[in-house]
Every structure is written in structure tokens, then in C-alpha cells.
Symmetry: C2
Subunit: 217 residues, 2 copies
């Protein structure tokens, strides 16, 4: 009757065959799956290593600590996300409307396609030690700032007419709102549904353009 740990639905991993990939990758992969299914604090080093056919001690030949392992996983998806957002915007030409649409579409497609990666990056980030969390936050701010810049341009050029509160805009809040919205598709979108990733992305881009009051192109 003494259940020692909260379990988040899924049971610990069975023993596995030794993963054939290079050990660092095998460990990363196993940890990723475990963190996604059960959450960082209840996944033990032993669980992770068992899942790729090694023993506890071997982890420390490849990572300094469990914490570093988590950071490694989150940082790599976060970095790729930032790159993709930047790329989408620079490839979209000069019109703020096109930039906004491209940004949202890229962001949403990614969050539909790499749901699990997004989930881990967003849900487990709070377990990172203070030093290791800093660069992830920086990247998030950078992404937000891309969006804020687009909104600003749109307003300056008169192609966006966003809602005001007492005569003032709050473009930062709007950017946050949009990002929250787009980020959390990953929490409920399933590929089995009636709409594809691209259709979702289009829907979200439409909503974003409407929200900022984009003038017809």
C-alpha cells in the first residue's frame, strides 16, 4: 500500500535490448521518451538507462548529470524552433502580413508535427537548474521579439489595426497571446483528427491576421 512515487499514467520501462546507436544518442532518445511519458522528476536515471539497455553508472560517461541531460534535450529542440521561425520570416518577403502568416504557419506546423518535443520543452523546462534555464528563456524571448517586431512594422505601415485599450496598443501582450495559442496546439492536436497539420496552420494564421486587424492584401 506504499506507492512511493506519483506515476503520471504510464509505467516505468521494461528492460530493453542494448540500443544500437551511439550511446549518447541512445540515451538522449530514451530519456526523451521517458520524460515525455512520465515527467522529469519521477523518471530515474536507472529507468532511462534500463530503457536503452545500459546501467545507471554509464550515464555519467556522457552527461555530467540528469539535469544536463534534460537541458541538452530541451535546448536542441528550442534551438531548432528558433531557427525555423527566423527562416520562415526572412523567406516571406517584405509585407508584414506575409511575415506574420509565415511565422504562425511555421510555428504551428512544427508544434503539430513535433508535439512530443514541444510538450517536453514546455512542460519540463521548470525542472532545469537556474543556470541552465537561462539560455532557453533567451531563445523564447528572441522568438517573441520576432513576432513583436512584425506587429510593430505592420502598425507603422498601417496594414495592421490591432485592438486598443484606452487608446494604446499592447503588442507584447498580443504576441504572448498568439504564442500561447500556437504553442498549445501541441497539447491536443492529434493527426487522427479531421484536419491536417497544414490546415491547422492555416486556421491559426487566419485567426492571427484577424486578431491584428490585417487589412486585405
Amino acid at each position: 500500500m506504499s506507492k512511493r512515487k506519483p506515476v503520471r499514467v504510464v509505467e516505468p520501462p521494461v528492460v530493453a535490448e542494448r540500443d544500437q546507436r551511439p550511446p549518447v544518442e541512445a540515451i538522449r532518445a530514451a530519456a526523451f521518451t521517458q520524460f515525455a511519458e512520465r515527467g522529469y522528476p519521477v523518471v530515474t536515471v536507472r529507468d532511462i538507462m534500463k530503457a536503452c539497455g545500459l546501467t545507471q553508472g554509464a550515464l555519467y560517461n556522457h552527461f555530467k548529470s540528469k539535469d544536463e541531460l534534460l537541458h541538452d534535450i530541451i535546448a536542441s529542440t528550442q534551438g531548432e524552433l528558433e531557427r525555423q521561425c527566423q527562416q520562415a520570416v526572412t523567406g516571406a518577403g517584405d509585407d508584414p502580413r506575409a511575415k506574420l502568416a509565415a511565422f504562425v504557419r511555421a510555428y504551428v506546423v512544427r508544434h503539430c508535427r513535433l508535439r512530443v518535443e514541444a510538450l517536453v520543452a514546455n512542460r519540463e523546462i521548470s525542472w532545469l537548474g537556474a543556470e541552465r534555464v537561462a539560455d532557453i528563456r533567451r531563445s523564447r524571448r528572441a522568438i517573441r521579439d520576432i513576432l513583436v517586431t512584425i506587429l510593430n512594422e505592420g502598425v507603422q505601415r498601417g496594414v495592421f489595426d490591432p485592438p486598443q485599450i484606452d487608446g494604446r496598443h499592447d503588442l507584447k501582450a498580443m504576441a504572448m497571446a498568439m504564442l500561447d495559442q500556437c504553442t498549445h496546439v501541441s497539447m491536443w492536436y492529434g493527426p487522427g483528427g479531421a484536419f491536417s497539420e497544414e490546415q491547422m496552420a492555416k486556421l491559426y494564421a487566419d485567426m492571427a491576421l484577424r486578431a491584428v486587424g490585417a487589412k486585405p492584401q
Copy 2:
């Protein structure tokens, strides 16, 4: 060098004076704060009880388990949220535009004002055992359905003209998107900022109305 637990930024609680309120409430309050600051799995029963000036064993005179304690906390805020949403809508008259605005405003004001409650309810829910999570999910679905119903009415009556994908609506997806957006104000809104809770609520209501293509009233 053997840091035993991930810490989520904040240190365990110092010993506290015995809380003067009735014990159940004192425990609930202490647990709530601890869960909010450090997260369910790393908060120990000893931590909670120490924070309200009791010892571990006493918890079990008031709750069956740590799990039940968490459920108790989440269920009470979730219930109140559901009630407030319902109330806002029924008090808003007949026009779907008014209903939508009222819903969003109530939801956002609450999530700005009770940020921490929202945070705990959303972040820690995944630690609840399968049996205990069911009624929370039911309540969430109920809230979503209120929103879907409003959107549906608006479309039927021709006062909403939401974006389509390949000629079809996806009102459920739109409802989810709006809820995600509104829920996560609680993650970054701070009362020190330039805008009040009510101003935020108005901003979000405006965005929602624009997103669904509400015709001018």
C-alpha cells in the same frame, strides 16, 4: 555533491508557527503554496506539514493521501471556474457576441487575478491518479462546450463569420485555441505591468471577437 532532488528554483519551507486556522484549511493552504512554488512531485508531505507547524503523520487525519490533497485543491478552483464561466454567459443576454465577450472577460479576469490557482490547476493536474483526474477533465470539457455552443449559435444566426479551412469550420479547434490563449495569461501576466486585469480581459475579448469574425453590433 549529491543533490537528491530537482528543486524548481525555490527552497523547501522553513519551520512555521502552528497555523491558527482549522487544520484542514491550514494544510490545504500550505500545500497549495508549496505545490505552486516547487511542484507536486518534489514537495514532500513533511514539507507541507512543516509549513503549517504540524508533523507528517497529522496529514492523514484529514486526507487519505497526498494525491487526494492535490485533487482537493485543484477540484475546488476548477469548480469555481466552471461556475463563473456559466454565470457570465447566462448573465450576458441573448446575443452570441455579448455571450462570447462575457465569457472571455470572466475567464481572463479570473486567470489574471488567481494566477497561482490557475498555474497549479494546469501544471500539476498530470500528477493526479487516473481515477481522480476524470472529474477535472469533465469540467474542462464542460467549459469548452460552453464556448463551442456560443460559437455555433453565432454562426447559425449569421453574426459570426469564422475562418474556414477548405469550406469547413472547425469550431472545436477555435474554442481550444481561445481557451489555450486565455488560460496562459496566468503564466506571464503580472499586476505590476502597464495594464489592469480588466484591460487585459477587454483585449482578449476583442481578439476573440475579431477571430470569429463577429459582425459589428
